[in-house]
């Protein structure tokens, strides 16, 4: 039986989680709490402000997590933290906190790849054994499949991430960042009904979102400056809700398409969606229809695990720790760039 505490802060969420692994039993989540830095509408979160947020909350969150979990410092076997990828300043502030705890409590450190954290937590929660993984967040858009001890990237966004595309579009339309811009786009999209023609860019198993963003930003800009846009078939006015709807329908169709191509390529029928955008129910629904058509199914988690969190870092860190992996203090750096396929996955067959 081993227990790990995980600290995540690669973007605007600070998360702390505590997990217990017992051989041949599912992992137990002892606590999983999060505090999000929310920027005002029309603004993104800046690294400096986000780092300040993480620094001022990390002690409170660690204390609360310990309290909720009912474990004592003595029970903890290792301290896991996000090594990358992510934004530099927030990553650093959390790495410093993790190092401090390691020295203070005299515990080994485990640096974790954020993306691998998402994948392992998704597998644990859903029971998806060997799925094709679609990892979609503010910073990443990757189609991943496991082979030979690595999570290999079969396809990805060649420019900006899907979450980034949604966030920036939300800013153009002045959509609130509370609780998350993508969530608010999703709610608005439910009321949209006209599909406008948006560039659709898929290249093999890769895709591109900058063309979409440029197009829909310009379109929204014209609308906001008073140009009336109408649906060519019905003559009805195009609303901001229609834009959200069209953006989702188009961008998600691209994601489902590249995922399906990867599934056909590796011969898998399971698909697991992880990352913040993975909470989107329309994306899950579309993916589900595709997977069913291929005789398989889609696995997704709710916002506790989809959105960046501490428990996934604790979980993936503990998997590595159990194979003997630790990160010495003087190597406990963090890095903005850390490819998913750089991690040697010793804990899987």
């Amino acid at each position: 039986m081993t227990i790990a505490i995980g600290l995540e802060g690669s973007a605007n969420k600070l998360g702390v989680g505590i997990i217990r692994h017992t051989p041949s039993k599912p992992a137990e989540i002892l606590s999983n709490i999060r505090h999000t830095f929310v920027s005002p509408p029309g603004e993104g979160f800046l690294p400096k402000d986000t780092a300040i947020h993480h620094r001022s909350w990390v002690v409170k969150l660690v204390k609360q997590a310990l309290k909720e979990s009912g474990v004592t410092v003595g029970d903890v076997d290792c301290i896991c933290y996000t090594k990358g990828p992510g934004m530099g300043a927030p990553l650093q502030s959390v790495a410093v906190a993790a190092r401090t705890l390691a020295l203070l409590w005299d515990k080994p450190l485990v640096g974790v790849n954020h993306c691998v954290g998402h994948i392992e937590m998704g597998r644990e929660i859903t029971g998806a054994d060997n799925p094709v993984v679609l990892y979609v967040s503010g910073g990443n858009t990757q189609v991943i499949a496991y082979a030979d001890q690595r999570y290999r990237i079969f396809g990805e966004a060649l420019d900006i991430a899907i979450g980034n595309c949604l966030d920036r579009f939300a800013r153009t339309l002045n959509i609130s960042n509370d609780p998350a811009p993508g969530y608010n786009i999703e709610q608005m999209a439910k009321k949209g009904k006209h599909l406008i023609d948006i560039p659709y860019t898929v290249k093999g198993m890769d895709c591109s979102f900058s063309g979409i963003l440029g197009f829909i930003d310009a379109y929204a800009g014209e609308m906001l400056s008073g140009t009336e846009k109408r649906d060519p078939d019905t003559g009805e006015l195009i609303t901001p809700e229609d834009l959200c709807f069209s953006l989702q329908e188009t961008a998600f169709a691209m994601l489902v398409e590249i995922t399906e191509r990867a599934m056909a390529h590796v011969g898998s029928t399971q698909v697991l969606i992880v990352g913040g955008v993975g909470c989107n129910e329309r994306l899950q629904e579309m993916m589900g229809i595709m997977a069913r058509d291929r005789g398989g199914s889609v696995y997704a988690t709710d916002e506790r695990f989809c959105i960046d969190n501490g428990i996934m870092i604790a979980h993936a860190g503990l998997l590595a720790f159990q194979t003997g992996f630790t990160t010495p203090i003087d190597e406990s750096t963090c890095t903005q760039r850390f490819r998913t396929d750089e991690v040697f996955v010793k804990w899987r067959d």
């Binding site: 934004m87 990805e156 599909l195 290249k203 093999g204 198993m205 890769d206 169709a253 489902v256 056909a264």
Partner: protein, 264 residues
């Protein structure tokens, strides 16, 4: 009584790919084999978008195939198009895909490590890689981007065996990897298939991304074959007229893919 209607889709379902279903059938004559490629509707996407994509890809694929084939890049000829239903009847290409061939080769050949080269079989394999580079070079020299270059979309066709009878099994080619590699491989052309994501473009960026797609597909499908991929690039460099700028651009595309900013 309603008049009988033509039925394009028949024959044997060969492949149910991500985007299309592929049948083997006959065209015009009972002994003239053909491929029927059908793009079924994708219920997961909005009906309007689905129709737009299906029609666009069908039309675009037919045009690209025709352009390639007549300009001299090996690919299936187009026989018939029903763009409303997203169906294309095209020339049958006899032969294994490069993907199947390489997998068979890796499984069946204990002899040379693909990354070592050397040996008669190794040299033949190098020639195959050179042919691939040359064919992609030709494609880019007529300003066509394939859009989905994978080893599954590269076929090996025997030069003498181009239009076999419909019943002719594929064994001849499948056995190739394991047995007569040293005598047979030189007689094969590399044929490009599946232009559903292709486009006409003279941009270095588009050509570089085309190569990048192949690189990633190649190395994720055949992780042990890095050396072989480099032969493809070398051959592309030597054959394609605009290779210098494209390969420079490829470096940038690689960096972009691997070092994307996370800043939201």
């Amino acid at each position: 009584m309603a008049p009988p209607t033509p039925r394009l889709i028949d024959g044997t379902l060969l492949k149910q790919g991500a985007e299309a279903h592929v049948y083997k059938s006959t065209f015009l004559l009972p002994d003239m084999p053909c491929v029927i490629k059908v793009r079924p509707t994708k219920p997961y996407r909005h009906a309007t978008l689905d129709m737009r994509l299906t029609k666009h890809r069908c039309v675009s694929e037919a045009r690209l195939l025709n352009r390639c084939r007549s300009m001299g890049v090996p690919c299936p000829a187009v026989y018939f198009v029903d763009e409303k239903r997203g169906e294309i009847i095209m020339e049958w290409i006899e032969g294994p895909s490069v993907r199947d061939f390489l997998n068979d080769y890796m499984d069946g050949n204990s002899d040379p490590d693909p990354n070592q080269g050397g040996g008669a079989a190794g040299t033949q394999l190098d020639t195959l890689m050179q042919n691939i580079g040359q064919t992609i070079g030709k494609l880019h020299d007529i300003d066509i981007i394939h859009g989905d270059l994978t080893t599954s979309n590269l076929m090996l066709r025997h030069r003498e065996l181009q239009a076999p009878a419909i019943e002719s099994p594929r064994q001849e080619c499948q056995g190739l990897a394991k047995n007569n590699i040293s005598t047979s491989l030189l007689d094969f052309d590399v044929v490009l298939i599946d232009f559903g994501l292709g486009q006409v473009s003279n941009s270095d960026e588009d050509k570089a991304v085309d190569l990048y797609v192949l690189e990633r597909a190649f190395l994720s499908t055949h992780p042990r074959a890095t050396r072989l991929f480099n032969i493809i690039l070398d051959s592309y460099k030597q054959n394609c007229l605009s290779s210098a700028v494209v390969l420079r651009r490829l470096q940038e595309v690689r960096l972009r893919g691997r070092k994307k900013s996370m800043i939201g």
